[in-house]
């Protein structure tokens, strides 16, 4: 990534941190919180779904682990920050279990297995009433006491910056190249000595930890969570759609995706009410059919084509979309 981009990103983040000084409406701040939360979630997902090319449709498992972990552990008397850390550890345990089984599968089977795990967790959360409160839900302790929304907003920006930093770091590291090698051709990556199983699992660990923190933030803002909300397949889908819409495997993609998707769904909520998922569906179909590289990916490849304009008379080869297996 070019230095100028990084500079722009740094300025944008700095401005975002100043937003609560200007915006005082809770409603707007809550929407902004949601945008940043999903930007962070999309960035986290992107490490597994974008860079490594493993289509996880079960990230609700880690999201829910964060929210429920925080709620259950602090109910048992652990201090708030320790509960948060332990919730992340629980998410890592889930990642280890899910990744251990699912990463042996490829293509659609991986996606299906991740869905299956997340759904099993949802059913467990609904039925282990003593532990989770079942369908009724469970109370989540507030992380902040005064000027609540503003602080939640700042935390979501902070989480996005963290996820962004990690993504930038990884995309230029040896580890990042391993991930992309696995995405482009897992067998070749294996044959040149990439320990694919371990590398994929590490990527999932980072992703799951970030997702769990986001889940804890989300639960803590609303003070209450139910299984059909934080562990639902809709959350998994939304996370994946954010990243795919903006551009999987790009650093900026998930942030752009979150801005576009969340503001679109907020604007259309008043028109479609309960049916606001419709817009997710339409966006997904449009992205797949017309810009499979996402918004950022498409813009980048347009620029790349301009930079590498062939000499006159040269027969231009067909531009190819990156193959995501």
């Amino acid at each position: 990534m070019k230095r100028s981009y990084l500079l722009i990103a740094a300025v944008a983040f700095a401005l975002s941190l100043l937003v609560p000084l200007v915006v005082r409406t809770d409603y707007v701040l809550q929407i902004l919180f949601r945008i940043y939360l999903f930007a962070a979630l999309g960035l986290a997902w992107n490490l597994v779904g974008g860079y490594t090319g493993q289509l996880s449709l079960g990230h609700a498992a880690y999201f829910g682990a964060g929210a429920y972990g925080l709620a259950i552990l602090s109910r048992e008397g652990l201090p708030l920050w320790l509960s948060l850390i332990c919730a992340v550890l629980v998410a890592l345990l889930f990642a280890w279990l899910i990744g251990g089984v699912s990463f042996r599968l490829r293509g659609p089977y991986f996606a299906l297995a991740t869905i299956a795990f997340a759904e099993v967790l949802r059913v467990l959360a609904k039925n282990l009433v003593k532990l989770t409160g079942g369908d009724v839900g469970i109370q989540v302790p507030p992380m902040f006491t005064s000027a609540v929304i503003g602080k939640f907003y700042l935390s979501s920006v902070g989480l996005t910056i963290l996820a962004f930093g990690i993504t930038v770091g990884i995309s230029h590291s040896r580890f990042g190249y391993y991930l992309m090698a696995i995405r482009d051709d897992e067998d070749t990556a294996l044959s040149v000595g990439v320990n694919a199983a371990r590398v994929k699992l590490y990527a999932l660990f980072i992703s799951a930890a970030l997702t769990a923190i986001a889940g804890a933030l989300y639960g803590s803002l609303f003070l209450f969570v139910v299984p059909d909300q934080v562990l639902s397949i809709d959350i998994s889908n939304e996370i994946a759609i954010v990243a795919m819409l903006g551009g999987a495997g790009t650093v900026l993609g998930p942030i752009v995706g979150a801005v576009v998707l969340e503001s679109a769904s907020e604007l259309l909520k008043s028109i479609f009410q309960e049916a606001h998922l419709l817009i997710y569906g339409v966006l997904l179909v449009v992205v797949v059919l017309f810009m499979p590289e996402g918004v950022v990916g498409t813009i980048q490849s347009v620029f790349r084509r301009k930079e590498l304009a062939p000499p006159p008379g040269f027969v231009k080869p067909q531009a190819q979309a990156p193959v995501i297996k």
Binding site: G53, L55, L57, V101, R104, L105, G107, P108, Y109, A111, L112, A113, I115, A116, F117, E119, V120, V123, L124, K126, N127, I233, N237, A240, M244, F272, E274, A275, H276, L277, L278, Y280, G281, V282, L283, L284, V285, V287, V288, L289, P292, A321, V323, I324, K325
Partner: protein, 282 residues
């Protein structure tokens, strides 16, 4: 147990449709349950307007869903054929969101149920065994249709062509098979199977826009359990799943049934990926 077999026959129909689409054609169809839901709504609308019973109305649902499946293939899936599974998953996922929320917009989120006189009737066999009549009728219709579907895939030209394409995508067109035509028809048939199962479930299920969601995953479970590419495997797996679910409901409670399905799924994938009848590894 016996009720499980009755449910299982309808599952089998859903699963066989998916086996054709996913097992044979390798299209990862995340909209399968949404198509089933559409089948239910088609039969429902027909019933509301003409009072035609779903046991005849399922034919209408089948025709509508076939047309819809054919169009879906031609319009949406054909352009991305040959691209990765990743794209198919996202496309069909998007489609399923569009279908279920489109229905939500049109019909609202309310639960509907149809009232036909048959519902209250029970069939008694011996002193202890009682069946609810609608289930029994659905069961026999599903059985006949499952047999027809099997014949379609294994014996007709289209079915053979579809399997030939599955074996070798490049050789099939060389043998004079019109790949896209065959696949569009097969996709339509697979989707129609789901729609018909939906119509047959109408008398015994509540109808709401999200009713199909869990069936998408169940259909995948059946295909994997039955073995990739095996139509009869999926049918058998449907019966197994029906029985397992009804036993789970009986001993542990209804809410655990879904979890048991997925545990089966994960176990099959990790321990015996070729499924019960499949020859291919997944």
């Amino acid at each position: 147990m016996l009720n499980g077999i009755l449910t299982g026959a309808l599952y089998a129909l859903v699963g066989m449709g998916m086996a054709l689409i996913f097992g044979v054609m390798r299209i990862v169809n995340f909209a399968h349950g949404a198509f089933m839901m559409l089948g239910m709504y088609a039969a429902y609308v027909l019933f509301q307007h003409t009072k035609i019973n779903p046991y005849i109305g399922f034919l209408f649902a089948g025709v509508v869903l076939f047309a819809l499946g054919w169009l879906t293939y031609k319009g949406l899936l054909k352009p991305i054929r040959g691209q990765s599974d990743f794209m198919q998953i996202l496309l069909t996922l998007g489609l399923s969101l569009i279908l279920s929320d489109g229905i939500l917009l049109i019909f609202g989120a309310d639960y509907h149920q149809i009232n036909i006189p048959l519902l209250g009737k029970n069939i008694h066999i011996g002193p202890h065994i009682t069946f609810n009549a609608p289930w029994v009728i659905s069961f026999f219709i599903a059985l006949v249709l499952a047999a027809l579907l099997y014949v379609f895939v294994m014996r007709t030209m289209i079915g053979r062509a579809a399997r030939a394409i599955a074996q070798n995508r490049y050789a099939a067109p060389l043998m004079g098979i019109n790949v896209h035509r065959v696949q569009a028809i097969s996709f339509g048939v697979g989707v129609a199977a789901a729609g018909i199962a939906g119509a047959l479930l109408l008398p015994v299920f509540y109808l709401y826009p999200g009713v199909g969601d869990q069936f998408t995953l169940k259909a995948f479970v059946m295909v994997v359990l039955g073995g990739m590419g095996s139509i009869q495997g999926a049918a058998f797996a449907g019966l197994v799943l029906g029985v397992v679910e009804s036993l789970t409901s009986l001993y542990w409670g209804n809410e655990w049934a879904l979890a048991v399905d997925f545990v089966i799924f994960i176990l099959v994938l990790s321990l015996k990926p070729s499924g019960l009848f499949g020859s291919q590894r997944v």
